[in-house]
């Protein structure tokens, strides 16, 4: 039986899929019932609180094997990663990458390139903490909202160092100054208003 799953803050589709017993998000995402959602929010890992995902019935597979023996079944789980581009204020890649990266309190091996940090994560991993250039940074996996929401704009501005504050209100002085400063840096018309061009430039600058 198909089921409706409302997206809570922090939910991304790989997490929902794992909670519902799927080994990856594609069976959910590709379900025809989610076509409208895909059109609205095309990234399965960036959904808005309040979105509703249709979860299809689990496909049951039956396999015949002899009893009283050990059998191995191989399940391929798609690899999920967190990829962070770490930049100094002037936009150059950070030279000193964090020595230790904790995922939900546990040290996790990471791959690093020039200013880039990539680590494999599980669908339920939530919080990464690290110290970058002397600044303690905490990131919440899957908490970012789609770019068509006020929160999505604010979160990307904050990630990009524009400090838009904590309130989902374009009219606050802090939010507006962050929008204008971003527009100015990107050569967009500086009007403090978040239109399609500003949203597109913001998503591009952020990387998702």
């Amino acid at each position: 039986m198909a089921d409706q799953h409302p997206i809570a803050p922090g939910d991304h589709l790989s997490r929902v899929a794992a909670q519902r017993g799927f080994r990856g998000y594609p069976p959910l995402w590709d379900d025809p019932a989610n076509r409208a959602l895909r059109a609205k929010h095309p990234n399965p890992h960036i959904l808005a609180a309040g979105d509703v995902v249709t979860v299809p019935a689990l496909e049951v597979r039956e396999v015949d094997r002899a009893t009283e023996q050990r059998h191995r079944f191989k399940v391929t789980v798609p690899e999920l990663v967190v990829r962070l581009a770490l930049r100094r204020w002037d936009g150059t890649p950070m030279e000193s990458l964090p020595a230790e990266v904790l995922v939900d309190g546990r040290a996790r091996p990471t791959m690093v390139g020039k200013g880039t940090l990539q680590l494999p994560i599980g669908p339920n991993d939530d919080r990464i903490t690290m110290t970058v250039d002397g600044i303690e940074v905490t990131v919440r996996i899957g908490h970012i909202q789609p770019i068509d929401t006020v929160a999505g704009v604010r979160e990307r501005l904050n990630n990009l160092g524009y400090d838009a504050g904590d309130r989902d209100d374009f009219q606050t002085l802090q939010f507006r100054s962050a929008v204008e400063e971003f527009q100015c840096d990107r050569g967009l018309p500086v009007d403090g208003k978040v239109g399609p061009a500003t949203r597109a430039a913001l998503a591009r600058a952020h990387g998702c």
Binding site: L84, R87, W89, G134, T138, N158
Partner: protein, 441 residues
């Protein structure tokens, strides 16, 4: 100083917020995390330390410069940048250059760039003519000729050494590499610049502006505008580095073109006279430059700034005097000179809740919170704790340790010649009176 920031003021720590990101199973898709530009403290120099309408620095600046050097020494890894400000009278381009000349003059005295002073002296601009100034003129008349003779350099150098002294009266310099642009640009990009008239602390009302337009009121206008003529120094977060090409501010000697790109979209409204006078920090809408406004907001100037005063005693209860103590708030280390009265005063943002007071090698954790009234047991305990009589918890319950501490305090008051009963009772009015006196609050 117009805003006596003893050791500057500090802002919140924006890095502490949790950021939101997305995981991915797609190549190239990523989340960019960029470090914000974070000023951690500021210092301000008022108009009256410059000769009138001039960029020539007066000897009265000495005391304030000593405060700046304390702040710089307490935060050695925090680069600094100088921003000069003019009042809005006259031409925007002229004001930009005048404020830039004042910023240049300060940078020069901090780094002993005697050549920059010589340039200012030899290239007067409008009313900013050092040769016409009493002191500069007297100092320099007949000494400096175009081309800069060595006696003039010596004289400037000596004058700088005389006014730029620390609290021990020793001459100090700040290395050009300590500035935000690391002294890399010969004309000071990122190190010092003028904001011109774009960032006034005070914007007159329409009525005031009308009155001040009359030539008869020029003096009153200049007086009311004095707060706008200032030089501000920001200290940035440890290790902040900038790419000079990405720095938004034009050089001190350049025009306002680059400034205009950074103006708020509603800069016209911000700069216009309105029905009432508008002022920073109350109104938060007087700065036309968005970039500068963000620096100012980030350092916490929009918040009411609280003053914290400590009286510093040694383990024998004697006043500690004539030393420098430090208060660590967030990333900034704020210095304060302890005067002959044993008092050290710091200015911290109103939202700061904790700090560490550093006296010599001793570090004392400070919770910034209202002190309970002395008429409560907790109020008595907190004062005894601050004065070093009570080691235990401040729990509001008058147990045996509190009683012992009260008795020890009362005995010491008696030894100091003030006869009060040795009661051990927190409700004792004589105890409460003497506690307030000893604690200072």
């Amino acid at each position: 100083m117009l805003d006596p920031v003893a050791g500057g003021s500090v802002g919140a720590f924006p890095g502490s917020r949790a950021l939101s990101i997305a995981p991915t199973d797609v190549d190239q898709e990523h989340n960019t995390l960029r470090a914000p530009l974070r000023p951690i403290a500021s210092w301000e120099l008022a108009d009256h330390h410059f000769a009138f309408d001039s960029s020539f620095i007066l000897p009265s600046m000495t005391e304030d410069l000593a405060e700046l050097v304390m702040l710089v020494r307490a935060n050695p890894e925090s680069p600094l940048a100088i921003f000069g400000h003019a009042d809005p009278t006259g031409d925007a381009g002229y004001n930009k250059l005048l404020s830039g000349r004042r910023a240049t003059a300060l940078f020069a005295v901090l780094t002993r760039r005697v050549d920059l002073w010589t340039q200012l002296f030899q290239n007067p601009m409008g009313r900013d003519d050092w040769k016409k100034d009493d002191l500069a003129g007297r100092l320099m008349r007949g000494v400096v000729e175009p081309g800069g003779t060595s006696p003039a350099l010596t004289l400037f150098q000596r004058y700088m050494d005389a006014i730029a002294v620390d609290q021990d009266r020793a001459a100090f310099t700040v290395a050009p590499a300590s500035f935000l642009g690391r002294g890399a640009d010969p004309k000071g990009r990122g190190d010092f610049q003028g904001c011109g008239e774009f960032n006034p602390l005070r914007v007159f009302s329409i009525a005031e502006a009308t009155t001040f337009r009359s030539p008869a009121n020029k003096e009153a206008r200049d007086e009311a505008n004095a707060v706008n003529r200032r030089v501000t120094v920001f200290l940035f977060s440890r290790g902040t580095r900038i790419d000079l090409a990405a720095w938004p501010c034009p050089r001190a000697g350049e025009g306002i073109g680059r400034c205009q790109k950074r103006l708020w979209s509603d800069a016209g409204v911000r700069r216009a006279n309105a029905a009432r006078r508008r002022e920073q920090p109350a109104d938060r809408d007087t700065f036309a430059c968005r970039f500068y406004d963000r620096l100012n907001e980030a350092v916490g100037h929009h918040q009411a700034i609280r003053q914290l005063t400590f009286r510093v005693l040694d383990e024998f209860g004697d006043l500690v005097v004539d030393t420098v103590v430090f208060l660590k708030v967030g990333e900034a280390t704020l210095p304060a000179k302890v005067g002959g009265d044993g008092l050290a005063t710091f200015r911290v943002p109103a939202d700061a809740t904790e700090a560490v007071l550093q006296i010599g090698r001793d570090q004392i954790d400070v919770d910034i919170a209202p002190l309970p009234p002395v008429t409560t047991v907790a109020g008595v305990q907190q004062r005894l704790f601050n004065l070093g009589f009570l080691a235990g918890a401040i729990d509001g319950a008058a147990g045996p340790r509190t009683r012992e501490a009260i008795i020890a305090f009362q005995e010491e008051v008696n030894e100091d010649g003030v006869a009060i009963p040795v009661s051990g009772d927190p409700a004792d009015p004589a105890l409460q009176r003497e506690l307030v006196r000893a604690h200072g609050s």
